[in-house]
Symmetry: C2
Subunit: 324 residues, 2 copies
């Protein structure tokens, strides 16, 4: 598998980032340290640091500088997860207890606040105000996105555009600035950083569309949780929006959605899943993800043919085809 | 009243800050805007912006620059209040419904996240990385302080030092950097900014000690809420810590505290209040507040005798004598 090769190649640097992540939350407060460390140890693919490292290869690669971007971006991701878990009443994530279920919602909220603050404080070690600005603006957008998600719960009249703006804020933006800030920390040319932003953005959009597809089409074994958890939370994703556009399917689907909402998601959703799986919502969403991947690879053309470019193409293909 | 005179004198500039505060949260998201505006309109003394403005008078006073510090510092204060209200299950603050009771805890959490992010993004308009660093580091300390507060609920073995470190993080630090960053945004000399930091710190410590005294000694009419709300939350403040040091009072007081804790604060606390009011905890805490005020005024000596210095002395005296 190509992706594993990539991680193997970057392993030494990823290990440095991992150590720095641990060091960054080694606070002299037992509860805060335990909760943060629990969150860190729950793992994840560290895709944001990987994007930062690869972005850095397009400039003067200096891990000592680049880490001051890679660590905060992963911390921001972690902090947003812990706040999400409060909202979603989630008791597990990636098979591990969440902070809010191992401790409580208060601890989860303050752990998130602490990690957000820590992220922004680490990046200030780079004396480049433009980097600080990009990161804090992304945080503003992300927090608006969180609210948008609540606003659009069970909102059957939302448009494709509503959805796309939401996943941009929720997922794509942080991946976009990971590529961009990696390049900026390595003092790559402005144009390079801009193109890498676009690559991260398009890949992130594809990633979220595929993630939303998986929640509808995957099996419990593949997902590590039952399918349909999005709709149980009220989260209407793009295959559903596409399916609702079919006038023959729409009335039945609206009725089923109203039923699920009336139970506040505490109901069997297999009929809903069957309806979506048999609709053209799936193939249209798959086509959308592929379109984003093509765009992502397209923007890389202009960049020099270094190994990092090949690695980014490999990641994009992987995201386009991911089945878990 | 001297303090009103000061506000009258700064009124034009405070109004500019007030407008900027409104503009800063004028986000294209109805719920987020309403919640943020609700929070803003609940008011407050805007003491952080006042400290920023006065700090700025020691350098090249330019409101267009200084506002990029004054607005974020007030926003950080607002965001920390909205997250505090989630933790405290508070339904009103300053006689207004809190965000969490008008909407819900989820909205309150994300409104806080949004306002924190917005604060950090506004300050990046000043291309001075040192200012960004001071602000984000203060946020880290503040979030540790929030957790400390939870950890020390009903913790009768805590020391004076535990308490002082906690109120430093909770209150004094943000006031300290308000003075300091006002000076830095106005490019005042480093030494001036450092002294102003100390002034804000000492005044902030006195402010919180007096605040904690008021909660024990004030009447419901003066406070706008019944006295004893700190202990009902489990928050053991300095007069109580001092009172516990009295070996004759200690056993009874411990018993009373255990009783309150067993009821999770949902009980009459008048006996507890009487015990504290009759103890030397009150006079010792008053003496501590006065000592901080003396120190605050002391550090100003070295600064030039401009009007802003007189205003800061006036504020310090006001804080030292505040009875509401």
């Amino acid at each position: 598998m190509k992706l594993l090769d990539l991680y193997a190649k970057l392993k030494k640097d990823i290990n440095v980032i991992e150590k720095e992540l641990e060091r960054s939350i080694d606070v002299d407060h037992p509860l805060l340290r335990d909760a943060s460390l629990h969150l860190l140890k729950a793992g994840g693919k560290r895709i944001r640091p990987v994007f930062v490292l690869l972005g850095g290869k397009f400039g003067t690669y200096d891990l000592e500088r680049i880490k001051h971007v890679a660590v905060p971006l992963e911390l921001i991701h972690m902090a947003s997860l812990v706040h999400d878990d409060v909202i979603d009443d989630a008791s597990t994530r990636r098979g591990q207890l969440t902070v809010r279920s191992k401790w409580d919602n208060r601890i989860a909220m303050y752990t998130g606040d602490y990690i957000f603050a820590k992220a922004l404080s680490i990046v200030t070690k780079l004396a480049n105000p433009a980097i600080h600005q990009i990161m804090s603006k992304a945080l503003v957008e992300m927090s608006i996105g969180e609210m948008e998600q609540i606003r659009f719960f069970y909102h059957t009249e939302q448009t494709v555009r509503d959805y796309l703006l939401r996943i941009k804020r929720k997922t794509a933006l942080l991946l976009a600035i990971s590529c961009q800030l990696g390049a900026m920390a390595a003092e790559a040319p402005d144009r390079t950083a801009k193109l890498l932003y676009k690559f991260g953005y398009f890949t992130g959009m594809a990633y979220q569309v595929r993630d939303d597809l998986l929640d509808l089409c995957g099996t419990e074994k593949e997902l590590g949780k039952p399918p349909g958890s999005d709709i149980k939370q009220g989260n209407i994703t793009i295959p559903v929006i596409f399916a609702l556009q079919n006038p023959e399917l729409r009335p039945d689907l609206l009725q089923e959605l109203a039923r699920i909402q009336a139970c506040d998601g505490q109901t069997d959703v297999s009929r809903f899943l069957d309806m979506i799986r048999q609709s053209e919502g799936i193939s249209r969403a798959e086509a959308l993800a592929s379109k984003y991947i093509d765009k992502a690879i397209g923007v890389l053309q202009e960049l020099p043919d270094i190994q990092a470019k090949k690695d980014l193409v490999g990641i994009a293909h992987f995201v386009g085809n991911r089945t878990y």
